[in-house]
Each structure stands twice: as C-alpha cells, then as structure tokens.
C-alpha cells in the first residue's frame, strides 16, 4: 500500500451525496493534481459521518479537521491553504450549534455531536473507503470470520452471540443468539441466512448508511451466521431505492469472492457460503420477515401466519434465519472482542449500542450511535443540539409508524428496549422524530397512520379496514368535524387491531394513535369539543386575525388570492373569515407582525 501524508475524507453517504459531495471529490482530485499533490494526499469517498445537517462534510487527516457545508468552490481554498500551506480554513470549520464554538482546535470526537456517541455498528462508516476490501481488512475485517471458521464450532459462535445479549435492531428486539439457535436446531439439507435491508420507516436511514459505508461488515456477519446455523446460501433483501448501497454490496460480494472470503471452502475449511441480492420494490410490509421471504420467492409481498417460524420453514420452504442490517453490523465485533466486551456497553437487558436517525425539529439532524440506556435527554439536547429557533420541545416519536411518542415529561427515560415499550413507544428500527410546540399531535398521529394505511398489504381485515376507519376519524377530527365518542372509538379500534392483526405491521399500526391519546388527550379534546387546534397547525381550525398593530399598508390585501381582506390605506384591515381559505399568505406578507393565527 502506498503511503500518503494526508487523507481527505469526503462523505459519500446519502445526505452528502445529494448535496453534491461527488462533485467535491472530482474537484479535490483535479486541484491536487494541478498542485502536484496527488501523490501525497489521498481523497477517499467514505460512508456516512452521521452529521447530515452539516453536509457535505469533509474531514482532513491527520489533523482531523472537520469542514462542514463545503461547496465546490471551497475546495480550491482547502487545497491551497490547508493541504499546501498547512493553514486550516477557519471559516469552513464546523461550528457547534449549541455552544457556538468553532471546532478548529478540536478533533472530531470532542465535538458535541460526537462526544457522547460510541460507534460499534458504524465504526467504519466515514473512516474507510467502502469500495475497497483492503481498507476493510486493514481495520480487522474478516478476522472474525477467520476466527469463527478455524477456532470455533458453530455452537460456540452461537454461544458468544447469546452471551453478548445482542437483540434484533430491526424492531421487535428478539435475542439474536436464540434465533440462530432455533435455525441451527432445524434439520435440513439447505438452510438460508437472510439479511433484511428493507429499511422502510420514514426518516430512518441507519441500515442504508451501514450498507453504503461498510458493506463488508454485513457480508462477514452473514458468513459467520451462515456457519453458525449451517446455511450455505445467503440473501440480502435490499430496497431498489438504495442504488448506492446495492452497487457497493455488489462490488463487495465480487471482491470477497476474489479474496476467497465468499464461495467455496472459505479459509480452506469445509464451509462454503454464497450471497445473492434481491431488490425490493419498496413495500414497507416486505420488511416483515414472512412477507420478505414471499417477495424473494417472487410472490406478492404479504405476511403469513406464524408458526411455522422461518427457523423451521422459511425461504423456499427451508429453515431460514433473518437478521436486520444493524444487528449484523455488531456480529464481527462481538466475535473478535468477546461477549463481555459487548455486554460492557449499554445495560444488562439491552446490551451494546443503538443507531438512531435523528430528524424533525432538532438542530443536528443525522445519524447517531449511542450506548443503550442513555437518557433520551442526552440524545435530544446534547447530541441533537436541542430544538431550533428557540422553540419548546414537545415530544419525540421513536420506532417510526409502529412506535409511539414520548412527551417532555418523560425525557429522562432510559433509551432501551423495555423502557421504551413500557411507555407505549418502541425501539423499532431507530427512527427518532422530534416535535416542537408547533406540531399538532392529532395531526402527527394522522400522518403516521396515513403511512401505515397506505402500506397495509390488505390481507387481514383489521389492518385493511380498521386502520382506514381510524384514519378517517383522525381526518375528520383535524378538519374540525370530530364527534363526541371519536376518541373512544379510536381506542376500541386500536386495541382490537393490536390484538387481532395478522402481522407486526398491523399489530403496531395503532401505536402512534394510542400514545398521542395517552399523553395528549387534551389536544384531541380541544379539536373535537372546542374545534380548536392548540398548536395552531390544523388549517381547517385556524382563524387569521388582524391586530391593532396593523398600519394599513395594504400589502396583505394585495396578496390575498380570494380578496378576503378589506380596508383602506393607513386604516386597520379586516379579514372576512367566511371568504378566507387559510393559505397564510397574508401572515407571511405582513411586515409588522399584525396578523395572527387563532
């Protein structure tokens, strides 16, 4: 391997890619060549750094200088100043939202966003070139597979995973070692090891980042798992909407084959293992394991009742083990460093770390990995940097459309499987959507339910019709047509759907409704009884009013598309609420803050 004096790491994750990081790489390479630095400085396109809000992100090593929101024209300056003359470009260095401190003198790990994080699953993301197997190997890659195949029996591998306490990161949190044990116990000629990369929660992208940033870690874990359960074939079910992940997986499989790390007689042992990729068409329900298998088989992606469980009768009728991407991201580390090391992170019932996709009304949107058991407050306030624009925190939705919301009063809750479930939310795959005082909780419930109604496969009655009827009720509440008894009807339907739907999607679909009713019942009641939206969000329940602050400038009247505003110059104007279509144009136009929502 060639030696370089400096490395420029450019984030090639989804967020930074969409804000133009590919162009940055080209510009860096051109500029370095022009300055004759191309033999001294290497440009690496890495996986996601996590702090998407600050993207496109560039880190220059060995200094560890963290440049944020880098534009194409900034590249010349970084090259000529930092890389040529050794002077950091001050004005491009990341500034912490909360402390307003520039990170010029700090390394990455000292920045607020990263300080409280611990990267296990994402350890290589943003560090290595995901398209280069050598870099993965240089970071201990495939050592765990070698160890498992040459020094451990399958039973020992399973025991380590069991002892580590690793639980599924995809939703339900089932112990991974137990799953492997069940699959191992099934006797069959053929078994399959499947990676569930059908990440579908709105706003969640941890699996995507892991696949894009460290694809070999997933392949290695699948081979280890395949060895443990006795499978000879692996399948990765990944969404077609993740083209970069797909491309990098394909490349990684090819490279692993070249190096003899996949295929026949791996490490000269009797163990042979191959991996195929199946692209999903984007149905949320295909993340449910039985639907996923149906989809791989080429059938309509619909869940089927369990038992039989996949470990007994799964893909193509053979025993199958299915784990999600992030779960697998931990496996090689556990094998290498041992169960005790893994258990030392987190809390006894929820060991290790968890990756969250932080989104919504929060300063540092992005991907964070924290030890299980940290207080929710740490994630929101310290790592997330709090709520923008000085607004008040209202709630955070965890677990995506299957989860529930947690109100401000519970902000000190420990983030682990059981604590989240105990308050009606769930870990889910790790989506975390933050809401502030401007969010209407009835509308939030409607939003999530709208998603599940749309994504219901239509097989079982409660999910197909029940969630739809719940959505209709929520819709009418937000439109000011709520009726006495609607909350009770929602509760009855929700409880019934939870208890009687065929699969996890249906059984958890009512959670956002139940949890918002539980913690924000007053908001529901205000909508229904007083025809008022306390967050001033629901259009149908709003009234725009002009206050005495009006100077009679007539700007609002000219902007109003339906001529609902009348008044003479220099006189206070009036809005005809009958005519008003509540578009909000007037409020946005008024320079004197004289228009308010009620």
């Amino acid at each position: 391997m060639e030696l370089y004096r400096s490395h420029v790491l450019v984030c090639g994750g989804t967020g930074c890619s969409s804000s133009g990081s590919a162009k940055l790489i080209e510009r860096f390479e051109d500029q370095l060549k022009e300055k004759g630095l191309d033999k001294e400085v290497k440009v690496v396109r890495t996986g996601c750094f996590g702090l998407c809000e600050a993207g496109p992100v560039v880190i220059v090593y060995p200094e560890g200088t963290f440049y944020s929101r880098v534009k194409e024209e900034d590249v010349d300056e970084i090259v000529s100043e930092h890389l040529l003359k050794g002077r950091k470009v001050q004005h491009l260095v990341y500034v912490d939202h909360k402390t307003h401190e520039s990170s010029v003198q700090k390394s990455l790990n000292e920045i607020g966003f990263y300080k409280q994080q611990q990267r296990v699953a994402l350890r290589n993301c943003g560090v290595i070139d995901p398209e280069n197997i050598d870099e993965y190997i240089a970071f201990d890659g495939y050592q765990a597979l070698g160890k498992a195949l040459t020094e451990m029996t399958p039973e020992q591998v399973i025991q380590v995973i069991l002892d580590s306490g690793l639980r599924g990161r995809g939703g339900a949190g089932f112990p991974t070692g137990k799953k492997w044990q069940f699959a191992r116990a099934s006797q069959a000629e053929h078994k399959y090891f499947v990676c569930n990369a059908d990440e579908g929660d709105p706003g969640a992208f941890m699996d995507r980042s892991l696949l894009e940033g460290d694809p070999h870690a997933i392949l290695e874990a699948m081979a280890i798992g395949g060895y443990a359960i006795g499978a000879d074939e692996g399948w990765i079910y990944v969404r077609a909407e993740y083209p970069i992940a797909v491309k990098r997986l394909e490349k990684a499989i090819e490279q692993a084959h070249e190096y003899g790390l996949l295929g026949k007689n791996i490490f000269g042992t009797d163990f042979s293992f191959d991996i195929h990729i199946r692209l999903g068409a984007g149905a949320f329900v295909c993340g449910e394991e039985t639907a996923l298998m149906a989809s791989i088989e080429g059938k309509r992606g619909e869940p089927r009742p369990k038992p039989p469980f996949p470990a007994v009768k799964g893909l193509f009728e053979s025993p199958t083990n299915i784990n999600n991407v992030e779960t697998l991201g931990n496996v090689a580390q556990i094998i290498l460093k041992g169960a005790d090391w893994f258990k030392s992170i987190g809390i006894p019932t929820s060991t290790g770390t968890k990756v969250f996709a932080l989104g919504g009304k929060i300063n540092n949107t992005g991907l964070v990995e924290v030890p299980m058991g940290v207080p929710l407050r740490t994630i929101i306030e310290d790592i997330g940097g709090g709520i923008p624009n000085g607004k008040k925190f209202k709630a955070v939705q965890t677990g995506g459309p299957s989860g529930g919301c947690i109100p401000a009063s519970l902000l000190d809750i420990s983030v682990d499987y059981d604590s989240l479930t105990s308050v009606g939310a769930m870990m889910g795959s790790g989506g975390m959507i933050v809401m502030d005082e401007d969010n209407c909780m009835v509308d939030i419930a409607r939003f999530f339910l709208d998603f599940t109604v749309d994504e219901s496969c239509g097989k079982c009655t409660p999910c197909r019709i029940g969630t739809r009827r719940m959505l209709e009720i929520l819709q009418r509440i937000t439109e000011g047509k709520g009726q006495e008894g609607d909350i009770e009807k929602l509760e009855t339907l929700a409880e019934n759907i939870k208890a009687s739907a065929l699969c996890g999607l249906g059984q958890t679909a009512p959670n956002p409704v139940l949890s918002t009713i539980k913690f924000f019942r007053d908001e529901y009641e205000a909508h229904i009884k007083e025809k008022r939206c306390p967050a001033h969000h629901c259009q149908a329940l709003l009234n725009y009013e002009i206050t005495d602050a009006c100077r009679g400038c007539t700007a609002c009247a000219r902007k109003c598309p339906v001529n609902a505003i009348s008044g003479t110059v220099k006189q206070k104007h009036v809005i005809d609420t009958q005519k008003c279509i509540k578009c909000g144009n007037c409020m946005a136009t008024c320079k004197f803050g004289a228009i308010i929502k009620n």
């Binding site: 009742p305 496969c457 009655t461 019709i465 339907l493 208890a499 009687s500 739907a501």
Partner: protein, 582 residues
Amino acid sequence: MENLVKLTIDGVPVEVPAGTTVLEAAKKAGIKIPTLCYLKDINQIGACRMCLVDTGARAFGAACVLPVSNGMNVKTNTPKIRSARKTNLELLLSNHDKKCLSCVRNQKCELQQMCIDLGVEDTDTYAGKMNEYDIDDLSPSIVRNNNKCILCRRCVAACINTQAVGVIGPVARGFKTQIKCAWDKSLSEAACINCGQCIAACPTGALHEKDSTREVWDLLNDSTKHVVVQPAPAVRAALGEEFGIPMGTSVTGKMAAALRRLGFEKVFDTDWAADLTIMEEGTEFIGRLKNGGTLPLITSCSPGWIKFCETYYPDFIPNLSSCKSPHEMEGAMIKSYWAEKEGIDPKDIRVVSVMPCTAKKFEAKRPELSHDGLQDVDAVLTTRELARMIKEAGIDFANLQDEDFDPMLGESTGAGVIFGATGGVMEAALRTVYEVVTGETLEKVDFEAVRGTEGIKEATVKVGDLDVNVAVAHGTANAAKLLDSIRSGEKNYHFIEVMGCPGGCVTGGGQPIVDAQTRMECDPKALRAKALYTEDANKPHRKSHENASVMALYKDYLGEPNSHKAHELLHTTYTKREKYIK
C-alpha cells in the same frame, strides 16, 4: 403410533394428533369457532381474523392456522375475543354492499349468518368510505361483484390450488385491495376455464353464475316455440338441497315433475345422451385401440376440462375424444332426430339444459356445437337457477309426486346416471367396452377402483387378452398432475376420464352451494355421488348398450356408432387457446 397432543380449550381437555389446528381440535371439544376465510382443504390463510382465539400470547391467534401444542390453554369465548371478532365483522360490513334483500345469496350467505351468530346490532358502527367497483359480467359463466367481496380469497385458492388455473388474485393493496384478473382485465378476457369453483367457494354474493332465468322465462312464454328441457345426471343428486331435502337425496322424479310444471313441452333427460356418449366414445376408444390411434383417449364431457386442455395442455388436444358432451349430443338429437319424428322445424325448437356447471354456459355458445346454423343448446341453467325458477313459480317441490321423463330421449340406464360422479364415465365406458370387445356378459358391473374422492385414481382392467390401463382425475389441478406424469413418460394409460371440478359434476360450479361449516362436517362429493350410485344400483339396466331407445336411435336414424351421420351430429373439434391476452 400417532403422536398425540394434549391441550385445553375453554377448560375442556382435548387430545388430538400433532399437526391438528386449534379450529379442528375445538370442533372435537364441541366448540364452534366462527370462520369466514377458512375453507377445508382449500384455503387456510388466517386472513379474516374471525376465528381468533386467546392462547396467552401477545396477540390473538387464528385458530384455522394455529397448530395445537402440548399444554396449550386456549380460550375461545372471552369478552375480548368476542369483541375482537365482532369488531372485525363490523369492519367487513363497513365496506360491504349490504343489499341483502336482492342478493342472490340472501339467506345462504356466510357473512349474513355470521351477523346472526355474533349478534351484530348495528351494521353501520364503523361506517366510512366504501370502495365502489364496476361489476364484471362479461364472462358467459361467472359474474364478479367486488362490492360484496370480503377478500377471504377462497375463490383465489380454489382457482389456483384446486384448479391450477390462477387467473384471479389480489390486485392493489391495503383498503384498495380487490380480487380480480391482472391488468384490470375482465374474466372473459383471461384464460378462465369457466368452471365456477370460485363461485362454489364464495361465502357471499360477490360471485355468482351469469343468470339465464329471465331468458328461459321469456322462452317459456313464447307460444311459437317448442321449448324442451334436459337436466344433467348430477342435478338430481343436489337439487333437493335447495328445498331443505337432506344432502345425498336423489330427487329425479320430483325434478321431472317440477320441470313439467314450469311449462316445458318435453322433459327429456341428459342421462339418455350419456348412454349415447358411451356408445360413441366407447366405439371411438375401441377404434383407436385397434387402429393405432392416439392414446390415451381422454373424455370430453366436461367443458371446464376441455378449455383447460385447450389453454394449458394443448399438446393433448389429439388425445381428446371427439365426442360432444352429453347435453350437446342430446340437443343435436332433439333438433334433428326428434324434430324429424315430430315433424317440427328445428328452427322452432329451443333446447334448455339444466346443468351442475357454469362452463356449460360457455360451451353452449361454442360455434362448433351447432348444425345448420342452429346451436345444439339454446340456454343453460345451473341447478341453482332452476331452484330459483321453481321457487318463483310457486311449486312446492318437496311435496311433488314423482314423474317420469318423456320417452324417446328420456330413458336411461344406470351407466348414464353415474356420469355425474367422478369415475362414472369411466365405469360406464368399461361396462360397455368390455362386452363389445369380449362378446361376453360382464357379471360384476361395479368398478370400485375408479369410484371415490381420491384426486387421481388408477386401475388396470382386463378386457379379453388386453390389460387396459385407465386413470381418473377430477379437479383440473389433478388433471395437470396426471398429464405431467404422462408427458414425462412416468405413466402410460389407454383411457383417462377427466372432470373439471373436484368430485365431478355432483360438486360442479353450478350446484347448490355448501357453506364452509357444512364442509367441515361432511363431504358433499361423497354424499351426492352416493345418491347417484344408489340410483344406478336400482336401475333395471345398467349398461349403456342396453338402453333400448338409444339402440332405436341407431337403428332408425344414425346407423351405427361413429357412422358418418353420427360424426356429423355428435362429434366436434377443439381449438388451441392462448394463455395470455394479447
């Protein structure tokens, strides 16, 4: 020894073999768990969520797909379970067109029965937006009204599993899910074989036969026409069920009387043409056997099977018997032989067939099945439609005195009667072929090996020096299996009987519908077949070549079986059909 599992259901200890479902185990404990999507042997998918039970797990389980396990403690009758079932039922009602009073399945609807059983008080508890779908009535046989569909998918399972056709399935998803053909095509454009097993599986009025009762009433009111009728062998084995007569009771005499009271000028019997079919098909078989013709010969009585073969196994078209199906033969004879004898212009005759079959409605319209520009059969009623007409006419069916069919085209032997059950055509053919080939009297006329409800039956029958290998398949999925084994060279037969519907015509797509609960308690295939075998056993003549009026037909009109004239009137041709719409 069988592996037994011990469990408790509502406090009742039960011991059942491993692999039994909770639904079946509960039945054994005297507990009736409500079901809608479950259909024994056909559909077990746990989709409707009516059969929910509490096993202490996080969510309720669907008893129809939940296997028993040792020590299981099942509760089927808790307030929560009752509420969940009722809520799910009320949700179904919220998207169901509740025009029960004018529904063809009124009082024979499983959804309606469920409302009674579960005590639904308000059908609008969860009223909301309903899907509105166009009715697909372009098929000559089957009408689909998705406004009444509850998405139980029993029709889908029948189509793909028992019939190996699979032209319908769930389309779109979520609340917009509906059962239909791909690409929004009508059933009439798809490679549907018209068998009607989807209708037989449907718990509601979402599927029914294309109604011909109006057309037949109009014919009966037309004094310028000679309107004659012929019921198929299987009709008499089931028609009584529509009038409260127990399943498995043959109602031949009452049926003849009822048809006469409806106003048909002549009441003939397709059983007569069944005997005629045996003369033609038996002779064709002996001819192929002697002259090195294409073997195995495969029967052609079932129009569902014929379309299946034409569409999915066209390489077997040369194996199909060229004989028209019995009611088409009867129609051809009515419009030629009988017309000539009576001195009636065939143009003034209208032949109505009463069939256990929806595919016969399609068959009657096939252009090949005509002579001198006149279709052999003008209208086809299913057994269900006949029952509706009898009710509409105010005929007290159950109390009718037995009557006979009209002579000339109305007498039959026991061989003709058993055409309605799977294996019946084969048995009837063997009775005649044996005697024709050997010239000896067949002492034991019962060929037990080809009777029964086994999906594929095989036998080797000694006919003189020859060992004749025969096979019988019913339900086109079984037919496909059988044909595959011939294609691969694994099997070798001389003669095959195929009936499109499982059980043969007695459980055809036009027969009275048997609900899912009844199907759990008895096998309509066996019960109805028994009625026909009993009638056969009681007949003075049990071999087709002993049918005096058929023999008279040959003597007076056709000459001999497979004669030129017989070929012209009683035989047909087949067409290869496309599987996919272009």
